[in-house]
Amino acid sequence: MLHIVNKSPFDTGSLASVLRVAKKDGGAVLLIEDGVYAATKNSATEASLKAAGMPVYVLQPDADARGLQSRLMDGVNMVDYGGFVDLVAGHDNVQSWL
């Protein structure tokens, strides 16, 4: 299952809920919009993403808009809009944690 997070982890508990609830086996997290801030290097959320136990994807255009190109943690996978579509198509179901 693909879990999509579009809110800043510093502003809402969406990402924390995903990491608490999501089934890790077959799961994946895609960070878009303000959700991409979770992957900022040296941030308070870096450790929780490292411990996610699922692949973490970051939508590159949203990271670029926010100036995060060189500020992202290691271990996350960058995707473009085509990659977003591939992720959705490649999982049986999708949950957007609005």
Partner: protein, 130 residues
């Protein structure tokens, strides 16, 4: 006498603080707040900006918005000096929790503790929140 009259006579200068707590692009608050700050410059008031919580992200260097087809308004923060708006305060705790340092910011700011921001806030005549 109304405040409006005071403006016209050039008499009363009030202390205005704009408190920015939202990241850019995800919501329209940051851009709208910046527009109001620019409008306020026309009234020759004592204007300051505080960046707290996700508002700190507004000032991150290297914003590149071509891919999301939105206007990159971050250069405008550097233009504020030209409007005599030079009091930009960033809360250290918010900045550090987000893995950022002063070198990551695109404009000269004063880094302050949460308590110092609170003191500045308490000194204002008007506080406007975005």
């Amino acid at each position: 006498m109304s405040d409006e009259m005071d403006f016209e006579e050039g008499g009363a200068v009030k202390k205005f603080m704009f408190v920015n707590r939202k990241a850019p692009y995800g919501t329209v608050y940051a851009l709208e707040g910046l527009e109001v700050v620019l409008i306020s410059a026309a009234f020759d008031q004592d204007v300051s900006l505080a960046f707290v919580d996700d508002g700190v992200f507004q000032l991150v260097k290297g914003q590149k918005t071509d891919g999301v087809e939105m206007k990159n308004f971050s250069p405008t923060y550097r233009a504020l000096e030209g409007y005599d708006i030079e009091k930009l305060y960033v809360e250290r705790e918010s900045m550090e929790a987000r893995g950022l340092s002063e070198d990551d910011l695109l404009v000269d700011v004063q880094i302050m503790s949460a308590a110092e921001i609170g003191d500045m806030m308490a000194q204002q005549d008007v506080v406007i929140s975005f």
